[in-house]
Symmetry: C2
């Protein structure tokens, strides 16, 4: 036991522990904290393998969830705990946006792809969104620093599903010094060219297309060029959102080719957009981040 | 492909397919049907590995869920699909009771451990419960026969969690000709001696303690003696319901000793009553049923 790491976190003044459940050889925990970036309480889940609980520094994966989700969906349905227990990896799942709560009146929209549950992990510039919707700053600055100060984290890889896959690709390439690895599941690859993203960015950024470009994963990859020795993307071949143009996976492939960014892109036969697909491939994503962490 | 098995089930007049999702090398499906036993619509989930989809007869596991659950909890949170895909096993999760729906006024109780979501898998004899609460007949006769007629099932093992662990032990020993294997997770081992079970059985059976005895897993095991070469039970050592006397695990151990029924009973350090515990041990239960099916 490394006494420099207080795994009960009893000394923390920033985090409130909401739950702890033993799961495989580790603990699934939930925490909440007051965010300066979003000016709201924020909740995240974190799986800590026994190595981390004993104070040993471990590689971590930051998982960004998709539209309508909060930390629960992936924590309950993605089945990452067994592999993270086996490898000794930390797995963190933040919420997808700020939310209204007692004393917090956060802007919202009746469309499920705009507003609460649909931040796109960007810092909005337009009213009423700019007040609370600063999820880029929340993820890559505030939460990132908080995690590193409160938990024995060695390195951080970033991944996510759908809108969260967009977030992982966007933030991974916009802030490559922060992350050692990037992967994505069924990502929205070109948010500014999907109907979902266009609706959201019209609200968050208005008509300034230079801001849209800075919030489009494929454009970001083209702009910054190769950053990782390889990235991994899995996509269900029978995904209805691929068919209707929300995901634009071919745009990601073109961007990686232009950027000379090695991309392993796998279209999985018959699979859809659900957590049944996520659980099918997530172990290989955890292993990807594990290998990249060993090389970093 | 064995053409005698129509895996699309399009010819079935009894089952309505509610959903299909590809998951690992197989499909997670939901079906509903009108039950003669409960006189209500009933829903179950079934995982069919590709072997079954191709018409090959596979061993199956019938999983009975705990208080307040329906088929969703285990299907979303227990993480059985990967192991069932690897081994080629079918996994079936029925609901925990009949429920009110349009045109069906089913009795209920405000206590979570009595009424809808809390059948205890028995046939109630008292009004108002006897009208619909016939879950023993539903599971071991109606659903059992329906599953065998509609899916390529080789043999059936029975397992479950908490109240469903009680159901698996009770029905496994009351109807041993129907099942090739029995296991349980965190089971209610002596329902007639737990506060939950006493409340339910007072409603379902009234004061006739001979009916209570026929609905108590440990008493049933003592009564019928050894039926299986071994049974497997996992229990979280930090389970709050173990501490407060709802589970009575020691009664099961005593009953198996008297009955000369080999029992592997594992108290897992630090684990609680949640699905985080279930996912931690379920693979070993699937493997237990797989081995027993090979020997049957």
């Amino acid at each position: 036991m490394n006494n420099s790491y207080n795994h009960s976190l009893s000394a923390s003044t920033q985090l409130t522990q909401k739950s702890v459940n033993r799961c495989f050889d580790g603990e699934q925990r939930y925490y909440s904290h007051q965010s300066a970036a979003t000016k709201t309480p924020m909740t995240f889940s974190i799986y800590l393998p026994d190595e981390a609980l004993a104070g040993q520094r471990c590689p971590a994966i930051l998982y960004l969830s998709g539209l309508t989700c909060n930390a629960d969906n992936v924590t309950h349905k993605a089945h990452f705990q067994q592999k993270c227990s086996e490898l000794g990896m930390i797995f963190i799942a933040p919420d997808t946006s700020p939310r209204s709560s007692e004393g917090n009146d956060v802007a919202n929209d009746e469309r499920y792809f705009v507003g609460q549950g649909a931040s796109y992990y960007v810092d909005a510039t337009q009213a009423p969104w700019a007040e609370h919707f600063n999820m880029q700053s929340y993820i890559v600055d505030e939460l990132y620093d908080l995690l590193r100060s409160e938990f024995p984290i060695d390195s951080i890889g970033i991944t996510g599903h759908s809108m969260g896959g967009h977030g992982a690709l966007l933030l991974g390439f916009k802030f490559p010094s922060k992350f050692v690895s990037v992967s994505a599941l069924s990502p929205v690859c070109a948010a500014s060219e999907s109907a979902w993203g266009q609706a959201a960015y019209t609200e968050y950024f208005g008509d300034d297309k230079s801001l849209w470009a800075q919030a489009d994963a494929s454009q970001m990859i083209e702009q910054v060029g190769q950053q990782y020795s390889s990235i991994l993307v899995d996509q269900g071949a029978a995904d209805e959102f691929l068919a209707d143009g929300q995901l634009q996976t071919s745009k990601l492939q073109q961007a990686c080719t232009k950027a000379k960014q090695p991309l392993t892109l796998r279209y999985q036969a018959d699979h859809d957009h659900s957590y049944y697909f996520i659980q099918t491939v997530i172990n290989e994503h955890i292993e990807h981040h594990w290998r990249m962490a060993q090389l970093s």
